[in-house]
């Protein structure tokens, strides 16, 4: 346990002492999503311009217009649903992961771009965390390029593994077991407890694959190795043999994420209309920044764990 908390402390220190890394990943995240946002924004403005009647308040959302818009929306525009507003966005994303909700195929495009981008970023970030010293831009980019192809392959393997889990374990747990249980004369509370337990079981499965991917990347950087299957098997061995500190680091990162989510939800729920408008957008972007910070701390902690 001390190993794990020492790794966490080191990881947090590595991120706090290098705030430019957080700024950089935040900018990259925003810039990879921005073209899609610009496209949708232009389409929305055109659609709104066609509204002959508008709400009295310029900031008010007309739900009837939105329903009409969704009726004819295709592609990315079809993903513009009310559940993207404010805290409902992260909540619905989390629900989609846990409930295995199918997503529109068009979202594979930004997902693939994000995967490729992070495969590039991890090379530089993990090298920075491993060397524990500032890297110049040239060295950072060189590290990114050196490991990019390996990390893309790891991401593809992990994606295939996750897909298999959703098609098998998830369907069994929620499509068969939970549905059979919930169809009976059971109270809502007991059904919720059972569902949470099933979330924990499935969450452990997808977390295992995610962790193997994480440690495969860390090993690739610390050993400067590129053989993907060797990295994956070594990562699996590491997770299996060092499972206590691995799980603790993961659990702390997970708890931080849950706390961040709860804070966001509480802020929106309790502040009501005071969190409307531009402030809601600022808070939402702040939530993204928080997620990125947790991700960097977790990664830096994993590097410390392997090096320790």
């Amino acid at each position: 346990m001390r190993t794990a908390f020492r790794a966490l402390a080191g990881g947090a220190a590595a991120v706090v002492t290098a705030p430019h890394l957080l700024v950089m990943v935040a900018l990259v995240t925003l810039l990879t999503a921005a073209p899609f946002g610009a496209f949708l924004g232009a389409r929305l403005q055109t659609a709104l311009a066609g509204q002959p009647l508008k709400p009295e308040l310029s900031s008010e959302i007309d739900p009837e217009w939105w329903l009409e818009y969704r009726t004819h929306a295709t592609g990315f525009e079809a993903t513009f649903v009310p559940a993207i507003v404010g805290f409902a966005g992260p909540l619905s994303n989390l629900s989609a992961v846990l409930d295995g909700t199918p997503q529109p195929l068009v979202l594979l495009v930004p997902a693939a771009i994000a995967a490729a981008t992070w495969a590039l970023l991890w090379g530089g970030l993990l090298t920075r965390f491993a060397q524990r010293r500032r890297l110049g831009a040239a060295a950072f980019l060189a590290a990114c390029r050196r490991h990019w192809l390996t990390f893309v392959q790891i991401a593809v393997l992990a994606a295939v593994g996750q897909a298999i889990l959703y098609l098998t374990i998830h369907r069994l747990l929620f499509g068969v077991i939970f549905n059979a249980y919930a169809a009976g004369d059971v109270s809502e509370v007991s059904a919720l407890v059972v569902r949470v337990l099933l979330y924990a079981v499935f969450g452990s499965c997808i977390a295992a694959i995610s962790l193997i991917g994480d440690y495969a990347r860390v090993l690739a950087v610390t050993r400067d190795e590129r053989r993907v299957m060797s990295l994956v098997s070594d990562a699996w061995r590491l997770v299996r043999t060092q499972w206590r500190p691995v799980v603790i680091v993961f659990a702390v990162a997970g708890l931080l994420f849950v706390a961040l989510l709860a804070l966001y939800g509480a802020a929106e729920t309790l502040s009501g209309s005071r969190l409307g408008g531009w402030r809601a957008i600022a808070v939402g972007q702040g939530y993204i920044l928080g997620r990125l910070a947790i991700r960097l701390v977790a990664a830096a902690s994993e590097v410390r764990l392997v090096q320790g």
Binding site: I61, I84, V85
Partner: protein, 435 residues
Amino acid sequence: MYYTRTVPLRRMTSALVLAAYVTGVGAVTQAGRDRDWPEPLRAMATSAVRHLEQFTTTSEPPVDVTISASRPSRQIEQLVATTRAALALFDDWLGPFPLPSLTVVEVPWNSPWIGASYPGVVTTRTRRLAPERDVSAERILIGALARQYWTTAGRSADPSFQEGLVLYTGTRGIHELLGGRNSLTVSALGGFVSHPIRAIQLSPNLSQALPRLRHLDEVDLPETAPWRASTSAAGGDAERAALALHTLERVVGWPALQSALESLRRQAERPLSTDGLATILNEQRGADLRWFFSAVLAPDARFDYAVEQVASERVNGDGGMYRTVVTLGRRGNGIFAAAAGAGAAPALPVTTTFEDGTVITDYWDGRDQTFELRYTSRTRAVSAILDPSLMLLVDVDRSNNSYRAVVPIETVGTRLALHWLIWLQDLMLSGTALT
């Protein structure tokens, strides 16, 4: 365990009801009418372990109401208030409640009877983790109460039109009763967690001329249910009938439509059908609206009017004037126009705005496949809008009903795009976290 509020004894005219009051079961039976209820509902309503709330309305005649719930809670108190308000509203719109008593049953979270409505009994469902601003249970209740007013005992009826009346009345009742606090609710984590989005009000300021949201899941779903007169599936006859009523409201106005609906309900000798309603509107307004129903409810009718093109060209040698041609099109096979001799029909207004601020409104009867409006003006046209008051809700694509030379940047559009951008970033982070 029972909790029963005191009900004035003078209201208890039936010995059966009196006995029920004494034993605490409540007024859940009314002269044997509960025999029409499905067995599971009757069992739930009369179960010995239910929490009961009872009151009598102040309407004339009064109605004895019993709320049968699994346990006392803030949500049940709200349902009591909503039931009172809904009965008062529907009585005002449609005339007295048809029965001397009503039972509202709170059904379990996974019950197939959510939103059920049989003579004298309606159901709703509350969720344990629902926050105070989640009014889903009230929406379900109001939708079910609306059905009570359109029973057809001993009366001929068109099932689709009857269901359309319920959908229309229920939706309208929800907007009227929950205006200002009817937040859209997002369900997550298997439906166990709900999050009302305060920024999206399903029933915004009702004094605005905007059309109201016509589809609410709590009214429309489940599409097929034993208590429905007809399926409420999208594109089905009942949904078309409801849409026709929403459009009719914008054509003749709510006071005229409300008066006609009340008369239709009271006049049991008239069929509960479009002919019955059209006849009443004819009598009340002196204008035959049968063309409206035959046009709008024709099985294969598809209404799609559009602004096809707006062209403003400077006319050479004409002192710098512009010639503007606004081309309108009828893309669908539906014609929103009265038949010959059927009386005055509301023509489709077209509003053209010019650069110098001039606004011209012309009218099109909507019959021809294309129609052109020609103007000569000092400035070019900047916009053309067909049906600016959004009367024609049956138009399947209202996005092609307008033209603007310049697309203005709307604040709400920018904010919504930024919300979507944050959601997408979160989605991308979640995806990369798994890999």
